[in-house]
Symmetry: C2
DNA sequence: TACATATCTGACACAGTGTCAGAAAACGAC
DNA sequence: GTCGTTTTCTGACACTGTGTCAGATATGTA
């Protein structure tokens, strides 16, 4: 508040409390991130390419909004109510990733394993990697982060042979 | 303090401040976790088996100490000094994982990619998966978490073919 | 100008963290 | 036991962050 022109009291006329401020920021960010992740979540076509595309969008949004993302994630550790909101946000991604993995398993594209713990772990991977890499200035460069996330997700889900194939294709074109 | 028999003031005779309390807890936990992770970090032999062993130990320790781990991780988001301590702790793992990946790349066991971002991402994966899975009661079961972390790390580093091979071996024996 | 509505502010209350002088307890010598 | 010394503990205070509220100020309108 010290850096703004209005008083602390005036703030409470626009937001019920700090929790609600963070909640609205989270909702805005969630919308952007879901939109970016949509290709892999709901798209049709080569799932390896869709993974690449979704992670590219997700990394791009998080690179831009890094400090917001970090503030939101930090707030989740101090406010009991907001912790639930943050958990719901990540949980929605877990559900979506789970569904996609199950669908691809039925098509024989992904090996048969319990999807829930792997989806959970991969989502914590993405979330906390971008939070730590982009949350504080100076931020990491987005490209190496994107490449690492793509490599890990594709190796885990579709097989490591697709990682090198894809990168060599990209080099040739 | 309300749940203890001593006063708040007495606490400050044993610890300089809350930061120092968390720091000592972190140091204790770091020792346990480093010891558990040692096989893959510094061991010789089949790296796939060593990965499995290290993650088993790490998951076991974190399952037991989950609430402590979570408290420590949460403290890092509110205390500037402690944030640095936590960052150093994770950074030490990044360095160790980086070295191991580079060594295995020289031996041709791991594909040639930039090791730092992948090591960073895999460590955030492990850390925040166990924190969220084991940090709050009721805790998740450790076995599915371990299996997911093993699957992801082995697929990413040594190739996804080793995941199924290993699990089929384990079924037969 | 006068009234009504919208917006803002200072003062207060309460919780969390750290400090400090002095009280209480433990110990040792006689 | 009773001093004197050292260790340990406590209540009161100071400072910061969060939220509330009555009343002041600004804005719009007839």
């Amino acid at each position: 508040m010290a850096t703004t022109s209005i008083s602390r009291s005036a703030f409470y006329q626009y937001f019920e409390d700090i929790h609600q401020l963070m909640k609205e920021l989270l909702d805005m960010l969630a919308e952007e991130i879901f939109a970016a992740a949509k290709p892999w979540i709901a798209g049709v076509g080569d799932p390896v390419a869709l993974t690449h595309e979704s992670l590219e969008g997700m990394v791009h949004v998080c690179y831009q909004r890094g400090p917001f993302l970090r503030a939101i994630s930090d707030a989740a550790t101090t406010d009991d109510r907001f912790e639930q909101d943050w958990s719901d946000f990540l949980g929605a991604f877990d559900d979506a990733a789970c569904s996609r993995i199950e669908a691809d398993q039925k098509q024989g594209l992904i090996a048969r394993f319990e999807p829930r713990p792997v989806a959970f772990a991969l989502n914590r991977l993405d979330a906390h990697t971008v939070i730590e890499a982009f949350g504080k200035h100076p931020r990491s460069k987005p490209e190496p982060v994107h490449e690492a996330l793509v490599r890990i997700r594709i190796s885990t889900l579709y097989g490591s042979e697709w990682v090198e194939k894809r990168s060599s294709n990209l080099v040739r074109t």
